[in-house]
């Protein structure tokens, strides 16, 4: 427990400068945009007079210098105020909080399924490296690993929604269906089936490959030779010794992939019209909504940090060697 607290404190304090760099770099990048939110707003309104432009610029603070605005932004950020979205005319934080659960549902389901299926198939492949089953699974996972998720999503829609008419093409649930409880959960599950598959397949392939490679390594270790010499049944060696030790690197991959997964969900949510965090990012880009885009990048960075801290804690719980020296000092 002490190890965990030491680790947690160190990681959270260490992430503050990183977040600060994220804010400053993103702020400067968005400054470089030609045309600001007021321009985009005027285009969407079909024009406006100079006095209106001036008032709008003042109300958004766009008439001040870059550094003054960066300072203002940081001050507001200290109060958890992420600014005001121009395109939606609502607070950025409220928008993000509204959309985030949908994305977390999508990403969480996808991660859980790809992790479980990927490690199981990885065990099936790594049970006997070089066997026909291993070769088939390895080749299959390599192909799946090369498939772009958004395209897979479209192909799934063509097959399951257009041809077979089994599943809905888009959205998160049937609009105004009046469903409650289990009916509603089932409805959401039906809607999420294709996006979860499209987002998860590439990670399924990745987890399979990492698991299989890890097991192939463990089979060569001396302690496996010893286990065999002790006359332990093969099944017991496979699950208790090989698979268990090969599972640890998978946890690391989980943390490393969290950033890529958020990126992947941007495209997947756009394909399936899911009103989530990723789609919000695309809407922010097309609406030239700098405060919203800024908030999205910041929140996604925080999410990645949190996932990595969770992975570190999990790792410390699974592997007693991690962090032992720090806790002792």
């Amino acid at each position: 427990m002490k190890r965990a607290i030491v680790l947690l404190r160190r990681r959270l304090i260490g992430s503050i400068p990183v977040l600060l760099i994220v804010v400053v770099l993103t702020f400067l990048l968005l400054e470089a945009a030609s045309g600001d939110a007021v321009d985009a707003y005027l285009v969407s309104m079909g024009g406006g007079d100079a006095a209106l432009v001036e008032t709008l610029r003042q109300s958004y603070g766009l008439d001040q210098s870059v550094w003054a605005r960066l300072l203002l932004y940081l001050q507001a950020l200290a109060h958890l105020d992420l600014g005001w979205s121009v395109a939606f005319n609502r607070p950025v934080l409220a928008l993000i909080c509204e959309r985030l659960p949908n994305t977390l549902l999508l990403m969480g389901t996808s991660t859980a399924l790809s992790f479980c299926l990927g490690s199981l198939l990885g065990i099936a492949a790594g049970a006997k490296p070089g066997s026909p089953r291993d070769r088939l699974l390895s080749a299959g996972s390599l192909v799946l690993y090369a498939v772009p998720g958004f395209w897979l999503g479209l192909v799934l829609v063509i097959v399951f929604s257009v041809w077979l008419r089994w599943l809905p093409t888009s959205g998160l649930e049937t609009i105004a269906s009046g469903k409650h409880g289990w009916d509603r959960a089932l409805d959401i599950a039906r809607h999420l089936f294709l996006p979860v598959s499209a987002l998860g397949v590439i990670y399924l392939a990745l987890f399979l490959r990492v698991m299989r490679a890890g097991m192939a390594d463990v089979w060569r270790q001396d302690y496996i030779l010893f286990a065999k010499a002790r006359g332990l049944p093969r099944r017991r060696i496979l699950f208790r010794h090989v698979a268990r030790n090969a599972l640890l690197p998978l946890v690391t991959v989980l943390g490393l992939q969290s950033a890529a997964m958020i990126g992947g969900s941007v495209v997947i949510e756009s394909v399936f019209a899911i009103p989530g965090f990723g789609r919000l990012a695309q809407e922010a880009v097309s609406g030239r909504d700098a405060p919203l885009l800024m908030g999205i990048i910041l929140v996604s960075a925080v999410m990645v940090i949190l996932v990595n801290v969770a992975v570190d804690l999990l790792y410390a719980a699974l592997d007693p060697r991690v962090g032992a020296s720090e806790a002792a000092s």
């Binding site: 390599l142 090369a146 958020i262 996604s300």
Partner: protein, 277 residues
């Protein structure tokens, strides 16, 4: 046997080499095979594939030749993938080596920046970058490189730190070699091999990122890419699904070629290492 011959002898490596060679040929020959702008209207709209000898893969919603678009798209995909990966690896190696050699505060600061780029989702960063600076090919290449340079930087630094402690570096120092000479002649060449091994994964990632960006409409509107073809085909997904399926297949085959090549290369290099005493 040379490395190339051995690579070509391994089944995975041979398949990878064949695919990449074919794609490279198609990309280079695109202007000769299908002269003129592939985005021009060439025939009747929505011709299905294999129905006309003039348009073997059919035409899209606006009557553009799908095969010509695919062939020209190969050019953009490979160009963007290779250029972005080259830029990412170059910047990553320079920053990583700088951090590894400098140490102290410079290292601390550089590695914080690297960490930042690993924490912000690369695709979001590329999306923001491309949308802010306007979608043109150089900007897309930069945006993808921006999202990919952190990993080679981290790896280069780790390599430099590890190699610095080796005995042969101590020997070089004892011989009185200049520190810069040690850095460039002894440490860097040895540090680069694992970083370059990473390069094929970065190329594959860059090709996929470019496709996703142009799928979302953030590609260069004046060139045809596989991603933009998929997005365009999506409008008629019910009546003409082949328009979004075909360019995706081209993407899968290309990325698979890169992976097969890199696996073959890794195997070949491993055999190389094992044969040496």
């Amino acid at each position: 046997m040379s490395l190339f011959a051995r690579l070509a002898a391994a089944p995975g490596g041979r398949a990878g080499l064949t695919i990449l060679g074919l794609m490279a040929f198609i990309a280079f020959a695109a202007p000769a095979l299908f002269p003129g702008d592939p985005l021009r209207i060439a025939g009747p709209a929505l011709l299905p594939p294999f129905s006309s000898s003039e348009f073997p893969l059919g035409t899209d919603r606006l009557g553009r030749d799908v095969l010509a678009c695919l062939v020209h798209g190969a050019q953009i995909s490979l160009l963007v993938g290779l250029a972005a990966a080259a830029a990412a690896i170059f910047v990553g190696m320079v920053v990583g080596a700088l951090a590894g050699f400098a140490g102290g505060l410079v290292e601390e600061a550089l590695m914080r920046v690297v960490e930042t780029f690993q924490i912000v989702p690369g695709f979001l960063m590329a999306l923001a970058f491309a949308s802010v600076l306007g979608a043109s090919l150089p900007i897309i290449i930069l945006a993808i490189a921006l999202a990919a340079w952190a990993e080679p930087a981290r790896l280069t630094r780790a390599q430099v730190l590890a190699i610095r402690e080796q005995d042969y570096i101590a020997a070089a120092r004892a011989l009185g070699m200049h520190p810069l000479e040690i850095a460039f002649k002894e440490i860097l060449p040895n540090a680069l091999a694992p970083v370059l091994a990473l390069s094929s994964v970065i190329v594959a990632g860059a090709i996929l990122t470019e496709a996703a960006l142009s799928f979302l409409g953030l590609g260069d509107p004046n060139v045809v890419t596989w991603g933009s073809m998929i997005a365009e085909g999506r409008n008629v997904i019910r009546s003409a699904p082949f328009l979004s399926i075909l360019p995706g297949l081209a993407l899968v085959v290309t990325v698979l070629g890169v992976y097969l090549f890199s696996e073959g290369l890794a195997d070949t290099l491993r055999q190389n290492g094992e044969e040496r005493p």
